[in-house]
Subunit: 621 residues, 2 copies
C-alpha cells in the first residue's frame, strides 16, 4: 500500500473526515478539495523534498560569520511549501487561509515528513502563528501571525536554556520594561515593550536566511520590585522577539534586534534544520547604536509581551499540543519512510532459500528475502507500528477539529480525550517508529549500515523525537501524574468508554473477537495499575514507574486503534478479498499476538509500586 492509499483509507473509510464538511466552517469543502490538497503536497514532496534528503544530511548548516548557510535545495523546498499555501491552510478565508480541517492538513503534511523531515524549517511557524492567533493582540496577529502564515517570516519557540531543559522553572532570561524611549513602553502598539537578556538553547530553525525575518516566541521572567526573578513557572512571561525590528505595517525598519546566533548544534541527525544557541541582548546588535529606531533606554533585545505577565507558560501550552502531535507525526513518517525502503529492498533482494521439510535445496534459485518468515516479521512489525501510529495521530487531529467546531459536548469530550492521548501521540511513535527504523536497517543487512541506503539516516533522524518537546520521562510524568488524574479521572474514563465501544463492536466480528477480549482485559489491567500506583497517594510511589506505565498505556491505545481500524476494514470487506483488508487485519493480529502481551511486564512494576530503581543507592552505580 502506498502512503496515499493508507491515508485515504484512514481519512475516509475510518475517520469519515468528509462528515466535517457538514460543519459551517468546512462547508465549502468536499472530497475533491481534500484530494487536491493531498495531491499537491504529494507532488511537492516528491519533487522538492525527497531527492534532497541525503544532501541536507551531508551539507550540514554552517555559519559563515555573517549568516547561516544552507543548501539551495532547502530554500527551494521552503519556497515550494510556502507557495502551496499549506502554512495557512487551516486559517480563516479572511486571513488568506482555506479553512481546511486540521485532520486533512496533518495528513497532507505527512508527505513532507516522509520525504525529508529535516529539510523543512517551517513546521514551527504555523504553531507559533496559531499561538498568536489565540493569545496575541489584534495588531500582533496582523503584523506577526499573518506574515508567518504567508511564509514571509518564520517562527520559533524559545523555551530551553543551557541550564534549563526539562526544568523550565529555572530559566534566567530576564525581561525589563523598555523605558526611556519616545514611545512609552506600556503603550507600544505592538505590545508592552521589554528588553530581554539571556541565552536560549535548542532553538529549532533559530537562525537562517530562508525568510525575510524570524519571529521568536521567547519565555522570560520579569524581575520583581527587588530585581529578583520569581522562582518557579509562575514568574514566566511570553514575548515576541523579532530578529529584525518591524513597524506596525509589518515592514522591516532596517534595525537588527539584538538576537545573535551563539552556536549551531551539531547533531546526530535531523541535520537539515538548524538548531541553535541564541543570545538575546548581549550587545552584538545593539539596537540603540543603530540609527532610526524609536527604541531606547538600556541594552537588551526588544520584546513585546504576549498575553498577561506571568502567564507565559499557559500561552505556550496552546502551541505545545499541536507541537506534540507534530512530533508524533514526524516520528511516524520517519518510520514509514524506513518501512517503504525496507519493503522495496525485501521485494528485490534475492538471498537464501525457503526452508522445506528436507532443509534447503542449494540447487534452487535464491528467493526474494520478503519470502523469509523473519523478514516478514520485521516488515509486519514496521507496518503495524507505523500505520498504527499514523492512525493515532489522525485520530488526535480529528479530535482537534472536534474541539474547534463541534457542539459543546463534543468539544468537552475532545478536550478531555486529547489531554489523555497527547502524551501517547507524542511518545509512542517516537519509541516504536524508531524501533521500526532499526528493523528497516536489519532487513537491509550490511547494506542498511551503509550511507548508500537511506535507512540509517531515518534511524538517526528519529532518535530526536524521544527527546524534544518534552522527553519520554516528562510525557510519562504528565500522563500518570496529571492527565489520568485530572477532573477525577474523567479523561481516562472517557477513553475507556471509547475503547469499550470498539471492544463491543469487534466482539461480534469472528476474526476479531479474541482480540476484543484481550483488549478488554488489558484495559482493566491498566485501570487497576492506575489505582494501585496511586493507592498510597504518594507521588514518588506512583511516579517511580511512570515510563513503564506510559509504555503499557501506549500499547493499549495502539491495540485499540488497530482493533478499530480492522473492524472498519472488515465492515467494508467481510470476505477479506482486498489485500488492504488482509493488511489491516494482519496488522491487528500481529499487534494483539506479538505486542499487546508486553503490557503485562510493564504493568507489573506499576501495580506493585516497585521501588527497585527509585531506591537504588546512587553510589552503587
Amino acid at each position: 500500500m502506498t502512503l496515499r492509499t493508507t491515508l485515504d483509507f484512514l481519512l475516509h473509510d475510518w475517520l469519515d473526515t468528509l462528515s466535517l464538511t457538514s460543519r459551517e466552517r468546512f462547508t465549502d469543502h468536499n472530497r475533491e478539495t481534500f484530494d487536491a490538497v493531498l495531491d499537491t503536497c504529494e507532488r511537492i514532496a516528491r519533487e522538492k523534498y525527497a531527492p534532497f534528503n541525503r544532501l541536507i544530511d551531508v551539507q550540514e548548516p554552517h555559519f559563515d560569520g555573517d549568516k547561516v548557510v544552507l543548501p539551495q535545495a532547502t530554500q527551494d523546498a521552503h519556497d515550494a511549501f510556502v507557495a502551496s499555501g499549506m502554512l495557512s491552510a487551516a486559517q480563516d478565508y479572511a486571513l488568506g487561509g482555506m479553512q481546511l480541517p486540521y485532520t486533512v492538513e496533518l495528513a497532507a503534511n505527512a508527505f513532507f515528513s516522509c520525504a525529508s523531515v529535516g529539510i523543512s524549517a517551517a513546521l514551527l511557524t504555523g504553531g507559533n502563528a496559531n499561538l498568536l492567533m489565540a493569545h496575541g493582540t489584534e495588531l500582533q496577529k496582523e503584523v506577526f501571525a499573518k506574515n508567518e502564515f504567508a511564509g514571509r517570516w518564520a517562527g520559533t519557540m524559545c523555551l530551553s536554556e543551557p541550564q534549563a531543559g526539562s526544568s523550565l522553572s529555572d530559566i534566567t532570561t530576564r525581561a525589563v520594561p523598555d523605558t526611556g524611549s519616545s514611545t512609552p513602553w506600556e503603550q507600544d502598539p505592538l505590545g508592552a515593550r521589554y528588553r530581554l537578556k539571556g541565552n536560549k538553547m535548542w532553538i529549532s530553525a533559530g537562525d537562517h536566511e530562508l525568510t525575510e525575518n524570524i519571529v521568536h516566541l521567547v519565555l522570560a521572567k520579569i524581575p520583581d520590585a527587588d530585581g529578583k526573578l520569581v522562582p518557579g513557572t509562575k514568574g514566566i512571561s511570553l514575548f515576541i522577539v523579532p530578529k529584525k525590528l518591524v513597524d506596525t505595517q509589518g515592514q522591516l525598519t532596517g534595525v537588527r534586534n539584538d538576537v545573535a546566533l551563539a552556536g549551531l548544534n551539531h547533531k546526530l541527525g535531523w541535520r537539515g534544520t538548524t538548531n541553535c544557541l541564541l543570545n538575546f541582548g548581549e550587545g552584538k546588535f545593539s539596537v540603540d547604536a543603530q540609527a532610526g529606531g524609536p527604541w531606547g533606554g538600556g541594552a537588551g533585545a526588544i520584546g513585546y509581551l504576549v498575553g498577561q505577565p506571568g502567564k507565559g507558560l499557559q500561552c505556550m501550552f496552546h502551541m505545545m499540543n499541536e507541537a506534540r502531535i507534530g512530533v508524533g507525526m514526524a516520528a511516524t513518517m520517519l518510520g514509514m519512510a524506513g518501512y517503504y525502503a525496507a519493503l522495496d529492498y525485501a521485494q528485490n533482494r534475492p538471498q537464501g532459500r525457503p526452508i522445506t521439510g528436507n532443509g534447503k535445496d542449494p540447487a534452487q534459485p535464491q528467493t526474494r528475502i520478503i519470502e523469509h518468515a523473519d523478514v516478514k516479521r520485521m516488515l509486519l512489525a514496521q507496518k503495524a507500528y507505523c500505520e498504527g501510529a499514523l492512525a493515532l495521530e489522525l485520530y488526535c487531529a480529528r479530535l482537534v477539529d472536534e474541539q474547534h467546531t463541534g457542539n459543546p459536548a463534543e468539544v468537552a469530550d475532545a478536550r478531555l480525550l486529547l489531554e489523555v492521548l497527547l502524551p501517547i501521540a507524542k511518545s509512542w511513535p517516537s519509541e516504536w517508529c524508531l524501533e521500526a527504523n532499526s528493523l528497516a536497517i536489519q532487513v537491509h543487512g550490511g547494506y542498511g549500515y551503509t550511507r548508500d541506503f537511506p535507512v540509517e539516516q531515518y534511524w538517526r533522524d528519529n532518535r530526536l523525537n524521544m527527546i524534544h518537546e518534552g522527553t519520554h520521562g516528562i510525557q510519562a510524568m504528565d500522563l500518570l501524574g496529571r492527565k489520568v488524574l485530572m477532573d477525577e479521572g474523567k479523561g481516562l474514563k472517557l477513553l475507556s468508554h471509547r475503547i469499550m465501544a470498539t471492544v463491543h463492536r469487534a466482539s461480534g466480528i469472528p476474526a476479531l473477537a479474541l482480540h476484543a477480549k484481550a483488549l478488554g482485559r488489558t484495559l482493566q489491567d491498566v485501570g487497576e495499575a492506575t489505582q494501585q500506583a496511586w493507592s498510597t497517594g504518594v507521588p514518588t510511589d506512583a511516579l517511580a514507574n511512570a515510563v513503564p506505565y506510559m509504555q503499557a498505556f501506549g500499547h493499549t491505545v495502539l491495540a485499540w486503534i488497530w482493533l478499530d481500524v480492522a473492524a472498519c476494514a472488515l465492515d467494508n470487506d467481510p470476505a477479506q478479498s482486498e489485500v488492504s483488508t488482509q493488511g489491516h487485519v494482519g496488522c491487528a493480529r500481529y499487534f494483539f499476538h506479538y505486542e499487546l502481551p508486553k503490557t503485562k511486564a510493564w504493568l507489573a512494576v506499576v501495580q506493585s509500586r516497585d521501588m527497585t530503581c527509585a531506591t537504588f543507592p546512587s553510589e552503587a552505580f
Copy 2:
C-alpha cells in the same frame, strides 16, 4: 564501580579464574601476572585509544588512489597494541605467547573496546591466526600465523560477497589450480596453490597500511570437472590469499598479489576500521606481469589451500565461535562506555527537583539528575544489561578455557554449553547493549543528541553488531533450528542443569529466593516452548518465531547470570555492607522485576507456533 573493579569481581570472586593456574598450561600464572596484563591494557587503552575515539569517527578512512589513508592515531594505537603482546597472549611460549587463559585475555581486551572499538583493526588477526593454528600446515603456521601473532601482518576473514551475505552457499568466487609454474601447484610448500577470482564484500580491515602485509582467509569454490561450481556450502574451500606474496621464510617477495580494493564502505558508525569490497584476480595487480615470482599459468590471485577441499566452512567455524564472543564483547563494551558517560553526566548535571508530598518547591536548588527515579531506572537498566552481558561473555570465555585445558568430561560439557550459549553471547548484547546506548543518549537529553558528547557515536557504532558475524535472524535459526536440538537436546539439558543448580543455591538466600522461583518457572516455560515449537516436526512452524524464541532464551540466560552473580556477591557479603554488593543485588532485582517478565510475551508466539507473520501475504504489505 569502574570497569576494572567489575572485571576483578567477575574474574576472581565469581569465576574463580585463578583456579585455572592449577592446570599445566597456566601454571606459571598467578594473580599478579593477570593483574599486570589488565593494568597494561587499561593504560594503553586510556592513552592511545580513548583520546582518539571521536577523531577516527570524523576522519573516516579514504583511498587516495594508491593506498588507504588512516589517521596517525590509528597507527599509534595499533603499534601500542602490538607492543603489548596481546595478539599472541594466549599462545604457547614457543610461539612467543604467554599462555594466558582466554578468559583473562578477553577481560584485558575489554579495555580497548570500551575506549575505542573502531580504532582497532587487529581484532580479526588473532582469530585468523588461531584458525591457521588449528587447520594449517606446519609451514602455514610458521609463515602466516606466527607473523600475525607478532603483529607484523594483519588478518581478515573473506566470506560474504555482494550477492551472498547470510547465504554463503551462493558465493561464486572460483579457485582453480595454478598450473604451468615451475613449482607444481600441488607441491607448493605454502600449500596447494590456486588462482582465485571473485569479489568479497564487507571485509573488515580489508585494506590498510598498518602492517607490512595482510593475510586474507578467503572462502571460494573449486569448480568440478565440468568447470561448474558445486551448489551449496559443501563445495566451499578455504584459502590463504596474502596481499603481498611471501616466500617460505616469511619474507616479502616484492610481488603484489592480485587483491585490489574496489571500494570502502561508508558506514553509519564503527568508522575507524575500514570495511571493504575486495576484488580478487581481476588483473589490477597481475602476478604474472610482475618479475621475479615462481608463479605462472593463468590470471587470478594466488591462494594456498587450508585444510581439505570442500571443508572450508567447517574450518571457518573454528574462527566464528571466538569471533561471536568477540562481537558480543564489543557490543557489551560499547554499552558500558555509554553507561559510564551517562553516569558521569547524571552525577554532574543539575536539573529539576525531587518530588515531595506537595509537589516541587521551586525555591529549592536543583538536584543532580541522578536523583530522579526515571534517570535511575535508565541507569540501572544500562548497568544490568551491560554488566550482565559482560558476565556472560566472560562465562563463555571460561568455557573456552575448559574446552582447551579441562579433563575429557569438562571438555565435552564446555563444548556443548558453548554451542547453546554462543548465539546468545553474540545476539543478546548486540540487542540490549544497543538499547543501553539509546538510554545513555536519553539520560543526556538534548546534549546526548549532539556530537559534543560521545554517546551518539556509541549508539551508531553498536548498531553494527546485530548485523555482522551472522545477523540476529541467523543466530536465532542457529539456536532454535540446530543448537537446542543437537545431540538430542543434550546442550539444552546441560544448560538447564546449570541453571537449576543456581536456582537451588539461590533458593536458600532470602534476598534471592523469589528470583530463584521465577527463574525456575521461566526455564520450564522455555523448555515447553521448545517442545511446542517442534511438536509438528515442521521446520517452518518452529522457525517462524525463532527471533522471539532467542529473545526469551537470552533473557532467561541473563536472569540466570544475574542470579548467580548476586548469589556470589551475597555469599561474600551477606549483610550487603559494600556498595558493590548492593549494586549486584540491585541489578539482579531490576532484571527479575523489569526484564524477565518480558519472556512471557515472546514465548507465547513460539508456543502457539504463531503463523501471523509467516503467512502474511507479501502483496499486502
